[in-house]
Structure formats: C-alpha cells, structure tokens
Amino acid sequence: MSLKDLVAPFMVWGRALQKPYTQKNPIITRPGADRYRGFHVNDIHKCVGCGTCEEICQNEAIDLVPVDGIETKHGDSGLRPKIDYGRCCWCALCVDICPTSSLGMSNEYIWIDSNPEVFRFIPGAENKTWDNSKKGYRRGEGYDLLEGQRVPMPMLSFEESQKTFIEMVQGFSREQALREADRCVSCGLCIATCPAHMDVPGYINAIRNDDMEEGLRIVYEANPLPASCGRVCSHACEDVCVMKHKGDALSIRWLKRYIVDRIYKGDYEKILSTGEAKNGKKVAIIGSGPGGLAAAYYLSLLGYEVTVYDSNEKAGGMIRYGIPEYRLPYEQVDKDIDYIKSLGVKIVQNTKIGEDLDFMELYNNNNAVFFSTGLKDPYGLDIPGEEFPGVTSGLSLLDDVTIGKTPDLGKSVVVVGGGNVAMDAARTSRRLNCEVTILYRRRIEDMPADVEEIHESQEEGCIIETQAIPLRIVKGDKTRLKLYWGRAEMVTDPKGGRPRPVLIEGSEEVIECDTVIPAIGQQADYSFLPEEIVNNIKFNRGMVEVNEYKQTGDLKIFAGGDIVNFKKDAISAIANGHSAAKGIDLYLNQL
C-alpha cells in the first residue's frame, strides 16, 4: 500500500459539502426535454384517418377507430388512431410518417391510473392535459420519410403545343413511373372517393412490382376504358390523396395511363378474363359513351348478348367527340373500344334511336335496355344576336374537328364559359391559329374546369376575362362580330351558397371577333323515348331518376351517365355502367 492509497480517500472530502444529485420528486418536477418522446398528441381536425401510422407501427399498437364528432367524407376516413400503450414503444415512427403532420408527441411522461383500460386512448379526442402541449417530439425540418413532390410529367412546351394536335402529355418513363408509384402510402382514401371505386393502391403496387399485367387486371375490374381515363379522368382520387397534405397528390391518373401504355392491345386477350359463357339473354344499350361501353363490357363478361346503338359514325360518345385529340388521341379511344368489341359486343353505328330505329322495337326484342345518351344540346347564351352565322357552340366545334372538318373560325374567337368544354374549345381554336378570349361570369377560382386545363389554356395564350357577362352580339365590318359584355360583381349569397355574379349597371365593354363560341353547358334530349315509357320513368330537373342499380321507374330500363349523375364526367358514367350491369344481371336472374 502506497502513501497515495492512504491519503486518496481524504482527497475527495469536498463531495461531502456538495448538493445531492437527486431531485425531490414530486416537490420538484422535471419536465421532459423539448424533443422528448412522451404521450401522443393528435390534431384530430387536421388528421384525415389515412392509417399510415397504423401501417408503420411495428408493434401493431395503433388501430383506427370512429370518433364522435368526426364525419366520414371524401378525403377523410372518419377514423382516428387509437394507441395501445401496452404495446407502444414510443419510437415515434408514426409521428415521422404522418402525412398530415397531425400526430406528434408531448413531453409529458407521467400518467397514473388504476384502470388499465384508459391506456388504450385516442390522442386528441380525450381531453388530456398534454393535448395542447407545444413541447415534445415532432418531425423536424430536414427529415422526412415521405416524398411530397410529384415526379414532373414530360409535356410538350406551350410554344409547341399551341400549334399542334399531337398529345401534350407524353407519359411517364419506367423510371419516372416507379418513382411516382413509390410515393403512395396505400391509404385507400382514393378508392373511397373514385366513383368507380378503382383499386388504386392495388395497381400502383403492381407498378412498383413492375407487373403490368396484374396492373391491367386490377384496372379492368372497375374500369374498361383505362386508356381514355388514364388521360382525361377528372381524377377525384387526386383531390383526396393524402400526399396532397405534404405537397402534391400522387399522379394517379398518369400511373393508370402508364400501365395501359405499356401493354400492347393485342395482348389484352391473354391477360384479361373473357368472362362467363353466353346465357342467351339480350341487352340493348343506347349510346356508346363511357356509360354505355362500361355496361356493355361488364354485361358481356356476365354472358349477355349486348348490342350498342349509337348515332355517330364511331363509338366513344363524348370521349371521342367532346375531347380534343391533343388531350385524348383517337387511337387510345380505339384501344379501349376494340377490346370491348373483341368480347363480342356488337356496336351498331349511325343509328339514332327514335329516327332510324324505334325505341319500342329494342324494348320488346331485348331482356333489358340501358341508355346513357348524355347531354348533347348546348344551352344558348340567350342574348340578342346569337343567331348570327359566326356564333357556333363549343361542342359542335369539337365535333367538327373530330370528324376531320377544318372549321373556319377567322382570326379571333371569343369563348363564353368556364367549364372543360370551354377550355377545350378555346385551346382547339388556338391550335387553329386564332386569338382566343375566354369570358366567364364568375371568378377564376369558381371555374368548373380542371385547374390544369385553366392553367394550360392561359399558358397557350388564351386570355381569360372573368366576371364578364355577355350582353349582346352586333354585326361588325364584313363578317366580324362585336360582342358587348358587362362587368359583374360577386354578391355573396345570404343563404351561404356560392357568390352570384351581378351585372354592374353601366359597365360595358366590347370585343371584336370573327367567331363567338358559347360553351356554357348542355342538356339532355329525351325525344327518342316514346310517351308510354316517359310516363313510367321519373325525371328530376332534366335528369333521369334511378335507384342504386341505375334502374328507372320502368324496371326493364336502366340509365346512366351524364343524364343520371351530377358529376357529369367519364368515370362517373363508367361507374353507372358498371352498377347498371350488376343491376341488370340481378333483375334478369330474379325473373
């Protein structure tokens, strides 16, 4: 033993005077650190119940459950995470991955209760003391497990696109599609919102697995027109995509298109099921738009002998005649329709029911009739001068271009309206070398057209005048027209509806142009229905009333498409066709 060993203990005597290390809890409480992973908090009004937290939780501690006061709606499952603290390990992966950033953790760590049940709790819904705690773990800047930005779609430049009818959107490459598909969290909010309830996460998963055949099978389960829908669908799914809360929604529409683009038309037969054997029953379908074609496809899979009657030269209805080629090339419409035809669906063209063929003949010779004749009669502007030769309609312009006519629009065009038809008409006119002005009576944010359509039309050089109400059309020099229009102010609706444009008295401006194209909507034409049928079917404000299987008051007659639903888009018509097919099968098998 050395001397140092002897004296060493006395060299630390100073410790006797030091304050004790320990704190007297609970007299002195010690809050958790600012970043402490304590009890969960959840802003339940920001949360949309996507279930990504449940998906990532490795302990399966999270369940999504209904919560009082939270309604299920589009983009919100109505469920909220319930966490089992007997399982939770406070790793905070749920917080990291939460796409809405509603989930977090407080720095609270003491919770005593004699009832073990309370430790399975719904953060944010149980009025805990830490609910509003600003401290505690949150996903910080510079760290993110999900990608908020979408992969940009290669497109023609606007300088190029306004001169050509070549398809603007060029489609994803394999690498781009894989990157975009990778962003999906498979929450399924899109399935609930899609009118046709397409299994979006399913086919996106197929893209990730590079299994296009599986992808096509999934797509065809709910949509027999994917080549068209993959281009022009109104994509309600993307409006509710949970990734929108992080930045951009997934490009669901383009991913669907990617699957279809990667499969050659001739291979469809090998990949898709051809359905049941023929059962000998006959169904007539009037109108070969998306509703009619979808009904035809699913009925034919169920073994029915289907004949589609259409007044145009080619099948497709609005998706062929109402959508310009630069958005939806005709060969893509053909790709969809040819496959439906290959299943044995007969399509009789150039046959207008009521003129070339009597409706009752169809009614009597078939077991059921489905009609989705769409909205074809454009509304007029209802102003003086609209009967002048230079005034046409958006639909007839699009129709003319489709059948190969080159309409003489002159040099400058005024399009009236703010819907997709108005945008299509404007951009088509632009491609026919016209100066285009769009007049719309409300504000730009009120336009029913797709946001990207509005943006692209502006980029292509269309001038949009909002809060503009056309007053009258007067003849100008030679074939020129003068469109007088007045400014409108937006008057809020006392009942809470959307603001109404009211003309500001005395305001008046004039545009000189060669052609005026009203595109303010269209209505249905039911003149082909004989009176005894009309009496059986109920109508409501120009629309046919149907039950959930799209069955009308006359049990043998089913209806779908724009004449039935308010959304008036292709995918809703397809969904109608699908449910009508189920309805017809149910009806005929019960007979």
Partner: protein, 403 residues
C-alpha cells in the same frame, strides 16, 4: 490447463489449482469430480442476483468457497429480435435493434443503419456521420460509467457507483434532448439521423463532460487507489494472451492483455480516421488492468467528444431522402459491418433477398464469447466471493448474448 511458455502469466487461481491436491484435476479445461462424494456443492448464482450483470446464471460447483466448475446458463432474456425482424419491414426493425444492448443502444442503431444503407446504396450526409460518431462516443462514456459503478459495487464499494450512475444520467440528459429518449434513443436511422443537434447542445455537452471528468478523477483516487480493490482485482481472472484469439476476445478485455486492437483504428468507420487518439493497452490482463484500460478509455472518450465537436461541420443536411419506407425493397445481397463498442467487436450481418423485409439479421455481440465461454474458463479455481467482480470485469450484457 497449463499453458506453455507463459509461466509469468499464470493466474493466481491456476497456480492454486495445480498446487492444491484436494481440488479435482482439470481434463480438457473441465474439472473432473464426483458430485456424490460429498466434497462438492452445486450452487446457482443468478438469474436474479446483484452479482450477475443482468439475467443470466452461473451454475457453480464449489469445494469450500473455491469454484471447481462453472457452467453458464442463458435463456432468461431471449426476446427473439432476430426472428422478429424477419417479419418486419426494414424501417420497422429500426425501433427493435436498440433493445439488443440496453445500456448502449447506439451501436446497434448505427450498425443496423450502416448495413441497410450499404446494401441499399444510400450514403448518409457528412454531418450525419459526424453526429453518429459523437453519439457513439457519448454512448461509450455512458456505458462505461454504468460499468464503473458495477465494478466498484461488486467489490463492496458502493459510493463510486452512486457517483458514476449520476454521471451516466447527466449524459442521458443530453441524449434525451438530442433524441427524445433517455435509454432507447432511436436516433440513428437508415439515411442519417432523425434530427439536428438542438441549439446550444454543444455547450451543454461540454459542461457535462467537465463534470464527468471531475468525477472520473475522484473515482480514480478512491477506487483505483483503494487497497481492497487492488488486492481483490489484481491477479483476478487473468486472460492469457494465447486464448484471446481462440475465444474470440475483443475490446478492452483483449487490449488489457496487450493486444493493440481497436476497430476504430484498424478499420476506421464513420469519422474515426479524422480523430486523433491512441489505442490504450495493458499488460497484466487481470481485472485491475481491464478496469484501468477502461478508465483511460473513458478519458479518451471525453477527449474524442471534444475533438468531434470541434471538427464537425456546423451546418448541413443530416438525412438522405429514402425511398418510401412503407415498401422499401433492399437489393439482394449480404453484408457484415462491425464497430468497436465498449466491450469489443459488435457486428451486424444482414442478408437481403430483395424483398421489403430482411431475410436474416445476425447480431454479433462481444458479450457472447465473454459471458458464456470465457466466464466458464476464468471462474475455475476462483473464490466464490470474486465471481461478481470477475463477471463485471468482463463487462458483459446478457441482452446482447440472447438478442
């Protein structure tokens, strides 16, 4: 049992065995005795025993208070983490790995992240690598503090344990503000780390280091100069240099036997190649030398943390964007990564079959060799009252043996 040519390194116990005709002969490293003879008694130390580092047990055969045979038993702490991970997506494995070695989860986090990153072809940003290095050294210091308390306590000195466990808690305070957790930090994630250093963190850490250094000085005075400690630990549990490779002994246990081996120097990972330090070794290879080596490594660790704080970039990204972790498929392949933890070589083997879940993860914890096979060997001939001190001097963690 007699090792050739190393007479000066004979353990006290080995000499004792050879000199004492009453003890049973050793055949192939195992005592040969008849339990029925009435001369021997079988007792269990553990699995619940303060003298065992965690949940494992020693089945001891004693003759008087001398140990003639020892069998180690594990299995009380098996949680099946390696298997659990085969059923989880890669990112879901990340909260599991920290539980494999409770007192220093960071080595698991780092190695898991590094193996996944390497197979997936992802590079963590520069600053993340520095933060990880910082983290590992903080973990080393905290873990050694806990060991120091155990080592002094196992020889009956309870005071130092109180100090060192407090020091560990001060470091855990820093971990808490850095990562949000005291024990399971879950901070190093594939791709980098989960958050940047909080503001003012460096200064608070430097203050903590100062406190720790002062405490270490006191511990050195009162523990390493304590004659009881010296007497009991010197010559206890000598690891002969010849068996170091045979048993796969690494870390301070090997360095105390004179082996200049340290993965931080030999195969530098993270930012260790940019840090200035020497490998600390000892000669005598007994419990006292091992304790000395570890004490010096603690001072070294404090120095390393100061170096890291001075050298690391002050700003920059700390996380590389990963593919969507909900369906992250790692390319097919296999990899083994290792790091120098407080107890030696810590290794992670990862085998991927190209799916979103690991096909196999194997964890090499240095405690496995130290606690299971080496302990059996070193115990023999020792005194039953020294078992606790011997076990702690090997610095073993049963959770890492069992996973």
């Amino acid at each position: 049992m007699v090792e050739k040519g190393c007479a000066n390194l004979f353990t006290r116990s080995q000499k004792h065995i050879n000199d004492n005709p009453k003890l049973p002969p050793i055949v192939n490293g195992r005592a040969k005795y008849n339990l029925e003879s009435g001369k021997y008694l079988k007792i269990w130390q553990g699995p619940q025993h303060p003298g065992i580092t965690g949940n494992m047990s020693l089945e001891l055969t004693v003759c008087g208070d001398e140990i003639v045979d020892c069998k180690t038993h594990v299995g009380y702490l098996h949680r099946g983490f390696e298997k659990l991970m085969e059923r989880r997506k890669y990112m879901q494995c990340f909260p599991i790995v920290c539980r494999i070695a409770v007192p220093e989860p960071d080595f698991n986090e780092y190695l898991f992240a590094a193996t996944v990153e390497e197979l997936a072809g992802i590079e963590a940003p520069e600053r993340a690598l520095w933060i990880r290095t910082l983290n590992l050294e903080m973990a080393r210091l905290a873990s050694f503090f806990m060991w120091l308390g155990g080592q002094s306590g196992s020889f009956g000195m309870n005071t130092q344990g109180q100090w060192t466990v407090t020091m560990r808690d001060y470091i855990l305070d820093r971990f808490e503000e850095l990562s949000g957790g005291r024990i399971y930090h879950m901070y190093m994630i594939p791709g980098g780390v989960r958050a940047d250093l909080p503001s003012g963190f460096e200064n608070r850490l430097l203050d903590t280091l100062k406190t720790c250094e002062k405490c270490l000085d006191d511990v050195e005075l009162t523990m390493f100069n304590n004659s009881i400690f010296k007497k009991r630990s010197k010559g206890l549990g000598i690891i002969h240099p010849d068996i170091v490779d045979e048993f796969g002994i690494t870390g301070p246990n090997a360095r105390a036997a004179g082996f200049k081996r340290d993965l931080r120097k030999d195969e530098p990972y993270l930012k260790y190649d940019q840090l200035d330090f020497e490998i600390i070794t000892g000669i005598d290879s007994d419990a006292y030398t091992r304790a000395r080596v570890r004490l010096q490594e603690m001072y070294q660790s404090i120095d390393l943390i100061r170096q890291i704080l001075a050298k690391m970039p002050k700003t920059g990204s700390f996380f590389t964007k990963l593919p969507n972790v909900l369906h992250w498929n790692i390319p097919e392949g296999q990899i083994y990564k290792k790091a120098e933890c407080t107890r030696g070589e810590y290794g992670y083997y990862l085998r991927s079959d190209g799916s979103d879940k690991p096909r196999r993860i194997y964890v090499r914890g240095p405690s496995y060799t130290h606690a299971v096979s080496l302990m059996e060997r070193l115990c023999i001939g020792g005194n039953i009252s020294d078992t606790a001190g011997l076990m702690v001097s090997l610095h073993t963690y049963p959770p890492e043996v069992e996973r």
